[in-house]
């Protein structure tokens, strides 16, 4: 009887959308029927999505990988006795950690993602889990906040506001009820890092939220998760329950005299609820209409109480900062952009997936070295970075350094790190029209420039497309569109109306030819 060999089959939304569940089920059946010397762990995804379903296997020299092992290949895969003759199998990829896509990354926040069983607290603890919390439990609230401030961590949701300053404001607010609110309403197209982290390393977010609670004196946290992520909800709720059973949530967290608990709340398909004040309204059971600022949520937030509002990745970055000290994190990155950002490669790229890198590389590196060019094989023409409110960048801007300030300098933004590539078949006038249409569908309706401006914008673009033969009218319409963009930028209450013009302006500026002939 030979020793049992451990296999890893990811349980992650994208892996499952490519058949990971049925592959795992077929393997399990074969193991039972043929009494194979194998067992299966459902891990998270490594984020090498073009290779999913990616099956890993323990060996005495570390983990090796096979992929993509799709449903139609799994029978042959089992029949090949891959566990005995691994290197001969056509889907063999070698040691997982040596796959260049993974090897070239700097995985800090995503260090455990794909490595562990997301629902095993033992796995979590065996891989540095709760070390940050232990450190925090031995520190004063002020020292925790100072540690986060010194790390240089900025909000990863898109706005990049310094996390330590936000926390300091909440800490300095008079004591009483305070809240930690995690924004998991990841609505930007081309982004999936929140989803991945919550599915593949949920305890990391839980730990980050507990630390935030200790830092500012809050004993209750809310996670606002989008309805569009059903598997994430399932996994995360299970993780919260497990953390509670193991004493990491509740009256005496990790046997200390501190109290903290969490509640998951679901959104209902409104993009605007990713805006922090709109999210607060939604959590309070109201229409997701944005609130004017001030007062800042740090002073008067959820249910009128001082609240820390952070994105999933921001909070998930905190445990390693506390465990290893601020300097280690601070050493990654450039200028005022410290640490790492999990970039998400999406759209028309050959090698899509999650790439965590220190700030400071170039977009070109992501597109070519990691992304491998377009999936369709046609020349790449435009890249939208930072979600639907981010600018479209032409090839001449792909050398821009990946840091917050460099992107701002070209009227673009890194945002939440989503990178969506388009090939030459893209019609940039159509894309600009969509930006405005999306704004008109998702606007909360509170301010006029956003609510009405977006509708007028769609109409103006339609007019441009209809008047291509009358140059004078076309030029007038384009002028009108530019003025409308100015009004929306200057007059909107929040980033929805205020930044929708970014993709529109960039399309006009860099791809003017698409606004000439109707295609």
């Amino acid at each position: 009887m030979s020793a049992i060999i451990r296999l890893y089959v990811p349980r992650d939304t994208t892996a499952c959308s490519l058949g990971a569940d049925s592959v795992a089920a077929t393997l399990q059946q074969a193991i039972e029927r043929q009494q194979l010397p194998l067992d299966i762990v459902r891990n998270g995804s490594r984020g090498l999505y073009w290779l999913e379903p990616l099956i890993e296997m323990d060996t005495c020299n570390g983990r090796i990988a096979f992929g993509p092992v799709t449903s139609d290949k799994v029978d042959e895969f089992i029949a090949s006795r891959f566990w005995e003759r691994s290197a001969e199998h056509p889907l063999y990829l070698g040691p997982t950690e040596d796959i260049p896509y993974l090897k070239k990354q700097q995985r800090v926040t995503f260090a455990r993602v794909g490595l562990t069983n997301p629902l095993s607290i033992e796995d979590y603890c065996a891989n540095s889990g709760f070390e940050g919390l232990q450190a925090a439990l031995n520190m004063s609230a002020q020292d925790i906040v100072t540690c986060v401030t010194d790390s240089g961590l900025r909000g990863r949701g898109g706005a990049a506001f310094p996390t330590g300053i936000k926390w300091q404001t909440v800490l300095d607010s008079p004591s009483g009820q305070k809240y930690i609110v995690c924004n998991a309403d990841e609505g930007d197209s081309g982004t999936f890092s929140d989803r991945m982290l919550m599915e593949s390393d949920p305890f990391c977010l839980i730990e980050g939220m507990i630390i935030a609670g200790l830092a500012v004196g809050a004993d209750l946290g809310y996670i606002y998760l989008r309805e569009e992520y059903p598997l994430t909800k399932q996994i995360f709720e299970q993780a919260v329950e497990t953390a509670r059973v193991h004493g990491y949530l509740g009256k005496t967290i990790a046997s200390s005299d501190h109290q903290f608990d969490l509640e998951l709340r679901l959104g209902a398909g409104a993009y605007i609820c990713g805006e922090e004040t709109s999210m607060l309204e939604s959590l309070e059971g109201k229409r997701g209409e944005i609130r004017p600022k001030p007062p800042l949520p740090a002073v008067k937030g959820l249910f009128g109480k001082p609240s820390v509002i952070n994105n999933v990745i921001t909070l998930a970055s905190v445990p390693s900062i506390l465990a290893n000290g601020p300097v280690v994190y601070q050493e990654y990155g450039v200028g005022k952009s410290r640490g790492t950002l999990p970039f998400q490669l999406a759209g028309n790229l050959k090698h899509t997936g999650l790439v965590e890198l220190a700030f400071g590389g170039t977009l070109q590196t992501l597109l070519k070295d990691f992304g491998g060019g377009t999936r369709t094989g046609k020349p790449m023409r435009a890249v939208q970075v930072g979600g639907p409110l981010g600018a479209y960048l032409p090839e001449s801007q792909w050398d821009t350094p990946l840091d917050y300030e460099s992107f701002l300098a070209i009227d673009a933004m890194l945002g939440h790190g989503g990178v969506v590539a388009f090939d030459e078949s893209v019609d940039m006038c159509e894309q600009a029209r969509f930006s405005l249409e999306f704004c008109s569908i998702e606007s909360c309706g509170k301010c006029t420039p956003c609510r009405i401006g977006s509708v007028r914008g769609v109409e103006v673009i339609d007019r441009i497309r209809q008047t291509t033969k009358n140059e004078e009218k076309r030029v007038q319409s384009i002028e009108l569109l530019k003025e409308l963009c100015d009004t929306m930028v200057d007059g909107s209450l929040c980033a929805m109306g205020g930044m929708t013009p970014f993709p529109v302006r960039s399309a006009l500026l860099h791809f003017p030819e698409d606004f000439k002939s109707s295609t």
Partner: protein, 166 residues
Amino acid sequence: MNKTSHQQSGHTKLVVDIVEELKLEQGALLPILHGIQDELGYVPTESVPFIADSLNLSRAEVHGVISFYHYFRSSPPGRYTVQICRAESCQAMGSRVMENYAKELLGIDFHETTADGEVTLLPVYCLGNCACSPSVRVGNEIFSHVDKIRFDAIVASLGHQPVEVT
């Protein structure tokens, strides 16, 4: 008629149970609406006055919340809800063509249900599956790389007969 009133009284008890269970939570309205829609597939208009009373809100406020969120609906959906992602990453991989094909195949537009009551077609703006665009969601299942052929296969797996386009 009898059946309808039976159904309504069944609904009423269910709504009462959900509201009673959740009404003391902070910000209870969204959890209550989710609870009702999880069970019934929609939030019946008849339930609005009761929800409003229980939470000390006006009917207009409850209606305002239901109508604000794309996800909540006031009428029953078809047996299957098919969501097609319309966002940029899926556009970059050909979702516009697939979207038009889907509408033609099912003979309906977004927010409509096929005449046999089987399929409701909805747009969605991102399923977080952007690494494998275009994406489609049916119930809680998400599908990757959906082109015309894969969309055909998804619809066939639901047992729905496509309409004859003449």
